[in-house]
């Protein structure tokens, strides 16, 4: 599923990385625990989170995540957006809460990271 489609499904705004919306996303995970993301997220996945600090971008950079969606209408501070721009990590923001954001994407066929092996 392309990031562009994810943006439509979640009625999300693009905070940075408009030019990267053609990225193909195969997996997603939703978490507010960065050590869990490091341990369990697969590379080339999308992260949905309620965290908006710079460490979210760092975490995404370390494990090659393809994009981040901030849920519940959260917006990061400018320094976080700048870091994401530098690292070429697109940032989206949706007003939907975590459960509904994940649920809508899953219904449309976006799989979870633990399902990687049986894809």
């Amino acid at each position: 599923m392309r990031l562009r489609e994810i943006k439509e499904i979640l009625k999300a705004k693009v905070l940075v990385g408009e030019e990267l919306l053609d990225r193909e996303i195969y997996y997603a995970c939703g978490s507010d625990l960065l050590s869990d993301v490091l341990a369990f997220a697969k590379e080339h996945a999308l992260l949905l989170t309620g965290l908006t600090n710079a460490q979210v971008i760092r975490t995404a950079e370390m494990i090659d995540l393809l994009g981040i969606v901030f849920v519940r209408g959260k917006k990061p501070e400018t320094a976080t957006v700048e870091l994401a721009s530098l690292k070429k990590i697109p940032l989206l923001s949706t007003h939907l809460p975590m459960y509904e954001s994940c649920g809508r994407l899953y219904l449309k066929g976006l799989r979870g990271c633990s399902e990687l092996s049986d894809a």
Binding site: D32, E43, A54, I63, D64
Partner: protein, 149 residues
Amino acid sequence: MPEENPLVEMEREIVGGDFQRAGDVSSELKNILQQAGFPAPFNRRVVIASYEAEMNVVIHAYRGIFRVQIYSDRVHIEVDDEGPGIPDLELAFQEGYSTAPPHIREMGFGAGYGLSNMKKCSDRLHIDTRVEEGTRVIMDFFLPSFMKG
């Protein structure tokens, strides 16, 4: 056995409490590993462990020195910090155990999975710690022979 010279050596300072720069060292290491042509799955475990170790210094210590030596078939990392040390190492390795204050948890860290992530990602992990002095973390990563170019 003669000691092989490292291909790359790097030494960086980590400042405790500096969350703006936290991750810089591991980001630099990731770029070096990529440029050196190591395979992505290997780089991923080195970088996850390195980032957790770096975050531990930023979260818990006053300052630290991060040293890495990259050889053709392995990576050696040592992180030395001046800080509170770890009073009960066995407890610290328990998943979910953490002494991180609430403001760290609000950032999404300090959930008590850092050390276990480091252990899972490295091939050898050794920790020396002295209470009220500091902690030294030594990690080794061996490139599996099937990944060697």
